[in-house]
Subunit: 156 residues, 2 copies
């Protein structure tokens, strides 16, 4: 069970964008440079974040990305699901209905209790990440960090 | 983020073994037949469950698998981790320490707050699955199911 490597990228990029002045933007190239990440692949992930409504893309040569809404309204779950989807890691293929021990369709009108418990665990994971916003993350970084971030990012 | 397809297999096989009479066993071939699963691949997963201490393998022509301890002492988490490991799906590659924005090692003595939040979500997932035992699962299947399971399994 692995999240894509880009999960770390988008969480850090969104945290970086959350440190910009209001309406300021950063381009995919700037963010790639800031974290030394492969620019084309990062660009694809940032587009996914924009498509999911987490970021807003402003077009043009001076364009770039900014948060689509206040940092307090963007959760880690929204960022993670933008690049990895919302599906549960557990896939139920209804093996209870196959083989020598196959249950009848009538006996399978309710979701398999194992699938229910696996779904509950996924909900617990989601609730945890839905309870953390970018504003919460900013509240835990050092006070000097945002000014440094803005300075290094704009210089690239 | 996907669990292996065999996660469903081992959860159902462990639930099946939990329905046997005390000290009764079922072979990998019987379980594969019961759920119409590829026997060699299932055998490998059952071995992993035995290695993890969830099942006990009894050798010999009449041998097979049984639960290594009472169903109330085996959690879904132990079963899932036996085949998929205990690692968090989120991998932190410390990108905060690379690129133009690289933080110094001194500024990274504490775990990255993003990694901390992702680890907390994984802990929530683990807690959820650690809170469900095979006995809990048995408590939610129909009263007629165990006798049917034993009958169909032993007939194969």
């Amino acid at each position: 069970m692995k999240l894509p490597v880009s999960t770390e990228w988008v969480l850090h990029c969104a945290t970086t964008l959350a440190q910009l002045e209001p309406r300021a933007t950063a381009s995919a190239a700037q963010l790639a440079d800031y974290f030394d990440l492969p620019a084309p692949y990062l660009a694809k992930q940032l587009k996914a974040l924009a498509k999911a409504g987490v970021l807003t893309a402003t077009p043009g040569p001076r364009g770039g990305y900014r948060l689509a809404r206040p940092a307090a309204d963007i959760t880690l779950l929204q960022i993670v699901e933008a690049v990895d989807g919302a599906a549960s890691p557990y896939e139920c293929h209804e093996i209870r209905q196959q083989g020598r021990g196959a249950l009848s369709p009538e006996d399978c009108r309710h979701t398999c209790v194992i699938a229910v418990k696996m779904a509950e665990a996924h909900q617990a994971w989601k609730r945890s990440l839905a309870g953390v916003t970018l504003a919460d993350i900013l509240g835990e970084i050092p006070p000097w960090a945002p000014a440094r971030t803005r300075s290094l990012l704009s210089g690239s």
